[in-house]
């Protein structure tokens, strides 16, 4: 048993925290949330610091960081804002797909620009009728000479409308077979003619934003098909574990931030002549909150360690995703109670956690879907 981080990992955490403290100040986070504005300056700081390159090999300008490094980063970035972290996650996970499944030429073309901050990336899979049930997707691409032509509609695409964004869109290229054999991954610049993008009015995660996309005869060059025709599902699977793991780590970071806020408030806020945290009812609530965040973190670290040591960790990752997202929702909710009227006020940060947290149990695979996976691995046939 060893829970120790390496010297470099401590350095990484310190350096990232320092940068985040300097750039993502509370005023910055509040202003962007209020204005529903993309964290452009912060993203640039990530680029400058080389964070976009973390998991990529040195040959492409990256740092060959490990899964553990990625989890550390996810936690630190999300501490300031789970919303902002989505901008990072989109670029990294889409980039990793290109790394794993792209041709040498594609890797050179896309990863170079991504790591230099010239482009960003986001994922788009969900459709109005295809959420948890990915196979129900109806958007298609058909070959036309050296292009593919995409038609259909996507929804809930995080960060799709950001400047210089390249959407990694999954569509059907063969509708006669099961989606696992008939889906493909395309890289589509968000300025491509025929593509209409609309930002949706959402409860939380309003800065990086959630978009709906309409594809009307969108022509995409054939060399922007990644992983080969009808090989989309393999792309999805190849990244699923690390994406869910980092999503779990992000939830842990954000949940910790909510607990920290509530704790600080409980120590400062006086009623009846003493800090409200001296009431056992409040103190125990905070003790439970921290215990649950630690439990979620421990599950996440165990899963990360398993992945890092080359083991299959589907069960552990699903548990970490389930527990961490539910915990973020729960502690943000309890945080609201501890902050009283101030929690409900838009000038205080707890309401942002309350709103941002609410999507954690839905996006990146809902809690119900995680339980389905876990139960399935326990030998239960869930209908």
């Amino acid at each position: 048993m060893d829970f120790e981080f390496s010297e470099e990992q401590n350095l990484l955490r310190d350096a990232v925290r320092k940068m985040m403290d300097r750039v993502a100040t509370p005023e910055y986070v509040r202003r962007l949330d209020r204005e529903q504005a993309y964290p452009t300056e912060l993203y640039q700081a990530w680029v400058d610091m080389g964070l976009i390159g973390l998991p990529f090999p040195e040959a492409y300008g990256g740092s060959s960081g490990s899964v553990i490094d990625m989890v550390i980063l996810a936690e630190e970035l999300s501490r300031k804002s789970a919303d902002f972290y989505m901008a990072y996650a989109g670029s990294i996970f889409c980039g990793l797909n290109v790394l794993r499944k792209g041709s040498e030429e594609q890797k050179k073309r896309w990863l170079g620009q991504l790591l230099e901050g010239k482009i960003r990336m986001s994922i788009s899979m969900s459709e109005p009728d295809a959420g948890s049930d990915v196979g129900a997707m109806r958007t298609t691409a058909r070959r036309d000479g050296d292009h593919w032509v995409i038609n259909g509609q996507k929804v809930w695409a995080t960060g799709a409308g950001a400047k210089d964004n390249v959407i990694n869109v999954y569509v059907k290229t063969d509708t006669t077979v099961n989606y696992r054999q008939g889906m493909s991954l395309f890289l589509v610049e968000n300025t491509t003619p025929g593509l209409e993008i609309r930002k949706l009015e959402m409860l939380g995660r309003r800065c990086v934003g959630t978009y709906e996309l309409f594809f009307n005869d969108v022509r995409v060059p054939a060399d922007q098909l990644i992983g080969g025709e009808n090989k989309g599902w393999e792309c999805v699977l190849s990244g699923l574990q690390i994406e869910r793991l980092c999503s779990a780590a992000g939830n842990c970071g954000a949940a910790q931030a909510a607990v920290d806020l509530a704790l600080e408030y409980a120590k400062e806020r006086k009623q009846f002549g003493r800090p409200i945290g001296t009431n056992q009812a409040i103190a125990h609530m905070l003790a439970d909150m921290q215990t649950e965040v630690d439990a979620a973190r421990t599950l996440t670290w165990r899963a990360a360690w398993m992945v890092a040591s080359g083991r299959d960790a589907l069960r552990e990752i699903s548990m970490a995703k389930l527990m961490s997202s539910e915990t973020y929702v729960k502690v943000a909710n309890q945080g609201m109670q501890i902050l009283g009227g101030y929690g409900y006020n838009m000038e205080f940060d707890m309401q942002r956690h309350y709103r941002d947290a609410r999507s954690a149990t839905v996006a990146a695979g809902s809690s119900q879907m995680q339980r389905n996976v876990i139960a399935g691995l326990m030998g239960l046939k869930v209908q």
Binding site: E8, D14, R22, A45
Partner: protein
């Protein structure tokens, strides 16, 4: 030109420091430690001088336990070339550190030593001055601007009432003030590169320095608790109170 930058591992400036219940010092168990902020400015300045082509090699040195290696790695990640750890578990006082640094200077022969003006834990503000005296070198303390030339350095100092610019012949000792520069963020590729840079341990014995403490700490106390403030209804009441109660305005 070779530069030596001594750095100290201190309790992170964000930590609320607590005095140990037995009054022997402050609580350091499970407390976040970092590089002394003034030393970070010193490392940053050395790196900028190197980037400007003035400095050719930056050696960082820290005196203390093996935990200081982490702090040295941070300095290597900012851009120092190699590191020396003077490994000792003895509680080090400014004079002992200055003596250790003199021994390191004898070995390394730098033309410039850049230190933080003080460490934020004991706030002594002595090591740089003592080192200069032991070496018989000129010193320029509280630097807010530094121009290094071949045989001398032009140093702008923050003094009471303004800025003073002095020229010191090299070799020299310089201590940094807060406004000298704003340290960069450590980049990821540089963290990875820092792993491969050399970090040599050496003991006070090997340097021939006796580090036995000369000062004895009798007791450490919490600062007195601040009394609660008072709210005033308007500016007039405030002015009255300042005049008649606090007597700070006429």
């Amino acid at each position: 030109m070779k530069v030596l930058v001594p750095i100290k591992r201190v309790i992170d400036y964000n930590v609320k420091v607590r005095v140990r219940s037995d009054g022997t010092g402050v609580e350091t168990a499970n407390v976040k430690m970092s590089m002394n902020p003034f030393d970070e400015i010193a490392v940053e300045e050395a790196v900028r001088q190197k980037e400007a082509g003035v400095v050719s090699e930056i050696v960082v040195v820290s005196c203390g336990t093996t935990a200081c290696q982490e702090t040295l790695r941070t300095a290597l990640a900012i851009g120092a070339d190699r590191a020396i750890l003077v490994d000792t578990a003895v509680e080090l006082q400014p004079l002992a550190v200055a003596k250790l640094l003199r021994a390191v200077v004898d070995r390394e022969q730098p033309r410039l030593v850049i230190l933080g003006k003080q460490a934020i834990d004991d706030d002594c503000n002595q090591t740089g001055q003592m080192l200069a005296a032991l070496l018989g070198w000129p010193q320029a303390t509280f630097a807010s601007k530094l121009v290094v030339e071949a045989e001398s350095a032009l140093v702008t100092r923050e003094v009471d009432g303004g800025l003073e610019t002095i020229r010191v012949g090299l070799p020299a000792v310089i201590t940094t003030d807060l406004r000298l520069n704003e340290p960069r963020y450590v980049t990821l590729p540089n963290i990875m590169k820092a792993k491969k840079k050399t970090l040599d341990p050496v003991t006070p014995d090997a340097l021939g320095v006796d580090v036995t403490p000369r000062l004895k700490t009798l007791r450490v106390d919490e600062p007195p608790k601040r009394k609660a403030g008072a709210k005033v209804p308007d500016a007039q009441t405030l002015a009255d109170k300042l005049k008649n109660e606090a007597k700070v305005v006429q």
